[in-house]
Amino acid sequence: MNVTLKIWRQQNAQTKGKFKTYPLRDVSPEMSFLEMLDYLNMQLIEKGEEPVAFEHDCREGICGTCGLYINGRPHGPMRNTTTCELHMREFKHGEVIYIEPWRARAFPVLKDLIVDRSSFERIMHAAGFISTNTGSAPEANSTPVSKIIADKAFDAAVCIGCGACVAACKNSSAMLYAAAKVAQYAMIPQGKVEAKERVDKMVRQMDAEGFGFCSNTYGCEFDCPKGISADFIALMNREFFSSRVCGHKQK
């Protein structure tokens, strides 16, 4: 099949970018979306042009490195699918495909389709952990966790940190990403001890990074490749209020 690609090209963070059009012939429907871009890049390299820069690593939907805004949706038209898992069989012969980087103030473009997601890292640095030292843990089964809670914590923990929630959100809010971590730890006994401080610090950091505010449109949930539920956002809000209202004053 043939497709026409309209791809955002930008030399580096300092320069301005623009869209370039690439007609691409003989694309196999069996190719993954990124293999299709590899195929384009091979042709560009043979022509001596710079290939399109995009990020990826595992190519199996788990590392969260990849992420392209494809035809108006992060990770493309399929739900619960990362860009690297998307296959060309989902596109039509002759289709025009727009490929853009994640757009958000907190995710500046580094080159072409690569953005800097270090803001996500700093949210985790703020308090995305349970403070326990190596070697100090009690025997694992001495802390029972109800299966229902453990499963729910798992559902929150599957976030791959891709940033699609921010890309999808009309407000560029990072609530789903932060909430997934806050919720995972807030639900289980191991994480409850410092739950109040955690949510406070993570939310503050998130706001400091320049993400937008949540207005509960649930676009994040719709486009999260891991199907993380916006219920966790409510849980984070609850934690946040209870932290503000009941939490101790911090120095």
Binding site: K6, W8, F19, Y69, N71, G72, R73, P74, P77, Y98, E100, R103, A104, R105, A106, A168, K170, N171, S172, S173, G210, F211, G212, F213, C214, S215, N216, T217, Y218, G219, F222, D223, A230, D231, I233, A234, L235, M236, N237, R238, E239, F240, F241
Partner: protein, 207 residues
Amino acid sequence: MALAGIFLMLFLISHLLTNLLMLAADGGKAFDRAVELLGHPAVKIVEYTLFAAFLIHILLGVILQLINYRARPVKYKKAPRTEISTFSRYMFHTGIIIFVFLVIHLINFFFVRMGWAPLPETAAHSHDFRPMAVALFQNPWYSGFYVISMLFLGFHLKHGFQSAFQSLGLNHTKYTPAIKIIGTLYAIFISVGFAIIPVYFLFFFSS
């Protein structure tokens, strides 16, 4: 924001119930009695809270919208196809419409009550809202504007109701679906409830 919103939503219920009394077949007696209550000191407190709530809600709404606008300096070229409810997408816009309505609404009634605007001929005194309303509603333009505003208010509330619960973290696998349904019913009740008053006075009432 959500707290103010909830307060406003509660207010809307009482306001609507009061207004519906206008339709009562008693020539407006019950309504007048209700209006008299406005002078009560307890109601005064509620009134000030109401102004504060509006102010907070609107101010926060505008600030958040500005921040959110700035959070994405470069927009997408391809129009987003992420499916979100239209109501949630246009909260700010419906909010603005409500705001415009509110200003006009206040000029028409509240200003009169406070004596900041001249008393219309139809009214006997500054609390005599029913004749004022009847006169306004018999203007098809005004009624049309009122009905449309109520429609947008309904849109705003359709999303706002459940959104407030989500924002406050009042979420539960069992009850949230019910909250969403109640929110929709509430939005319909409020917007239809307010809208039938001008429709009644325009089409089915002659003084």
